[in-house]
Amino acid sequence: MSEKILEMKNIIKDFPGVRALDKVNFTLEKGEILALVGENGAGKSTLMKVLSGVWPYPSYEGDIYLRDQLVRFANTREAEEAGIGIIHQELNLLPDLSVAENIYLDRQPLGKFGGIKWRELYQQAEKVLARLNMDINPRMQLGDLTVGKQQMVEIAKALSLNTKILVFDEPTSALTESEIKELFIVINELRASGVSIIYISHKMEEIEEIADSVVVLRDGATIGDKIKISEVTLDEIIARMVGRDINDLFPKQEFKRGAKTLEVKNITVPDPFNPDKNLVDDVSFTAYKGEILGISGLMGAGRTELVNAIFGVYGKKRTGEIFLNGNQLAINSPADAIESGIALVTEDRKELGLLLDKNLIMNMTLPSLKKFSSSFTIDKNAEKETSENYVKQLNIKTPSLDVFVEKLSGGNQQKVVIGKWLITNSDVLILDEPTRGIDVGAKVEVYRLMNQLVEEGVTVIMISSELPEIMGMSDRIIVMSEGEKTAELTRQEADQETIMKYATGNKGVE
């Protein structure tokens, strides 16, 4: 019954210093949901960019056949017209425009005299959004939506194109559980209507749940043939991906709880857009040496705001007290926080974590420049040495220390951000979604690293939206909902149901 709709043959794609794709062969059937997996930097996104015209012919070698017909796209528009839609790994939307315009950018319905028919535009947008069961007003400015909703808009945009092949490049890294459920329903409907889907994700449970078959990429080449998902175990897939077996996905180690380190009292941040609401509402907690404190909650619960508040992002708008090792800190800016020994790995690495067009060294040493300088001058050799050390320690894949970090794959970028904060040698390390978008192998490395840090006496606080991760790695878990702390659970108390109960607003503490 299978009808081959797409075939990519011997695709080679080179970047300066890297061969990202090395003779990749790849087929896709009509109505198939194919999972494309592999480590960070394996070449998944690159392959999809070749397919969707982002890398136009002849910037790659090899041939692409759509229904046995050779195609060579000169730009994304041509790929769209051939029925290929893609939802890129990064959001590609315009925050200053309305939701509807984002969906129909440059495809707005026109009236007789070339004027845009706004009303019709909004109606069309409403319809597409309805297909996703999304209650989003198409007139809203996109930037006013949460990241999750923005991601849904991006999906709506691809849907509106009437595509035959739809690529999802890590679509769920910013979605809530329920949004993911909605998305999967939509994907299944699409398959039913004959659309073929390529699905990229680092979340193995998702692969298992949604995909028909799986292709593994490693170092720019496919490993083995396409396999039916029913004929393979997750462990086997992972082993193919990383080239070795990973036995323990959450290598949690036990330590003895030590002294009180970070203690925050009554942290409150007002909502600038809504005087009756607080982004963070009177949150207090204590963290100790020798344990990992997890912060859980649904998307939009205010977790990021809480750690930002501690980190001085809101300046004097934040109220409440912060103590470190018993001393009260006056933190009014990130500089103050860093000075006091607090580090924050931000959740959005591209916008907030990295200088994309700077090399690894510059990125990694930025918050700790003072360490590498006597008086005014920077000791470049010391900088290089330290960076090199951390690149090794974190197993960052890069041709050299001199490449711009934008050229690294997502996971390796994330490791650079972590490295940047490790170098500060802070007492407290806060990680906001530290494993978002990174591959299984890398995740495990991050977890090991967290263990090692705890062992060295660093206080680790981790925000995560992935329940297995939170439960697998934390010693204690704070749950938040709508800016408030709703529970504080021990490792033993915390199971999926309990966390979800508090995350949806039931209060458990005080």
Binding site: T76, E80, L94, D96, E101, L105, Q108, Y122
Partner: protein, 370 residues
């Protein structure tokens, strides 16, 4: 309404300025002065409309002033050479404005060179061309009807009709745009409706007072009004206009969405070139002659109008109505200080502060309302 409040900062600054000036100078609020004032604004205003689009793309165009000069020289020389007035105008619009604009846009976009440097080059080149063409000497206009373009008026009765039509169209537009959708239901935004109607009527009355109170609508003002309306329509209602916001917002995203960046950018510079040339032609007509130095420094007033009007240098955000307010502010400052007889040296100091202040009021106002 939100947009209105956002632009309010500058608008309030303008109203404030006008009130102060009408106390300080008795002639300020006369029909005659206001007619002059509006006409004085058109030269800069027309360029600023184009500059808005350029800055929306996060670009800049330094060559507008030199294009003004070259266009003035060209239209005058062409008429001297025996070309009919309209043909001379057409050749100048296309051959000077269009060609130089194309060069600006194509070169900067194709080779990915910041427009600052390309238009700086063209600024120097076009000024050199004006000097070479005229041999550095000013050129008189020989055609007698040419002067009317810049100095003529639409007679009072037709002017009144034009204003009335504008009022009616304005009110229709207010009705249309005051509809909102809440949960799929049509709702009329009462505040916006009344506000809009009051503004329309106030605008109409001001128009009657200013223009009918003097000699009718000056032709350059009418031309400017048409250009502004075309500009507003383009930015709000056409795909081309929306592409500019997209490109200015994030060029990469726009490109991934299949927008032809090169074409849109080139087009914007062509439009700006043509508008600058139009401004130069009007100026030659008003002066009844052209000299090679005309337009020197105009880029600064145009850019200042755009920025005072709330368009962001980062691209992607801005409106032509804002720019018009910006241009009026600059015009009012110049006119007011001249009426007050302030020493030119002090005029410069005051003007500098007012430019900074106008933008600051706007910024602080936005911050408060945020």
């Amino acid at each position: 309404m939100k947009k209105f409040i956002k632009n309010n900062g500058t608008f309030i600054a303008l109203i404030f300025l006008i009130i102060i000036l009408s106390f300080l100078s008795s002639s300020f609020l006369s029909s005659r002065n206001l007619t002059n004032l509006v006409r004085q604004i058109t030269i800069n205003g027309i360029i600023a409309v184009g500059m808005t689009m350029v800055i929306l793309l996060a670009g800049i165009d330094l060559s507008v002033g030199s294009i003004v000069g070259l266009a003035a020289v060209s239209v005058t020389l062409l008429m001297q050479a025996g070309f009919g007035m309209w043909l001379a105008i057409l050749i100048t619009l296309v051959g000077v404005g269009g060609v130089l604009g194309f060069f600006n846009g194509f070169m900067s976009s194709k080779f990915d060179i910041h427009p600052f440097i390309i238009t700086l080059g063209v600024m120097t080149i076009a000024r050199g061309l004006s000097l070479v063409l005229t041999q550095g000497v000013s050129v008189p206009v020989t055609n007698t009807t040419f002067a009317d373009i810049g100095s003529g008026y639409i007679a009072k009765l037709p002017s009144l009709i034009v204003l009335l039509v504008a009022l009616i169209l304005g009110i229709i537009a207010v009705f249309k745009t005051s509809v909102e959708y809440k949960n799929g239901e049509k709702v009329r935004n009462k505040a916006r409706l009344t506000g809009g109607i009051i503004l329309s009527i106030a605008g109409f009355l001001a128009g009657v007072f200013i223009f009918i109170g003097y000699q009718g609508i000056p032709i350059p003002v009418a031309i400017f009004a048409v250009i502004v309306m075309a500009g507003v329509y383009t930015l709000r209602k056409t795909r081309f206009g929306r592409k500019l916001y997209a490109i200015g917002g994030n060029e990469k995203v726009a490109w991934l969405s299949g927008i032809n960046i090169l074409r849109s950018k080139t087009m914007v510079f062509v439009i700006t070139g043509i508008l600058s040339a139009a401004s130069g032609i009007l100026l030659a007509s008003r002066l009844n002659g052209a000299s090679p130095n005309l337009g020197d420094g105009f880029e600064l007033d145009a850019i200042a109008s755009v920025i005072i009007g709330g368009t962001s240098f980062m691209g992607g955000v801005g409106t032509i109505t804002g720019t018009v307010i910006g241009a009026i502010i600059i015009g009012v400052i110049n006119n007011g200080m001249s009426l007050l007889g302030i020493n030119t040296f002090y005029q410069m100091i005051v003007k500098g502060f007012i430019i900074i202040l106008a933008v600051m009021i706007d910024v602080l106002n936005r911050r408060e309302s945020a």
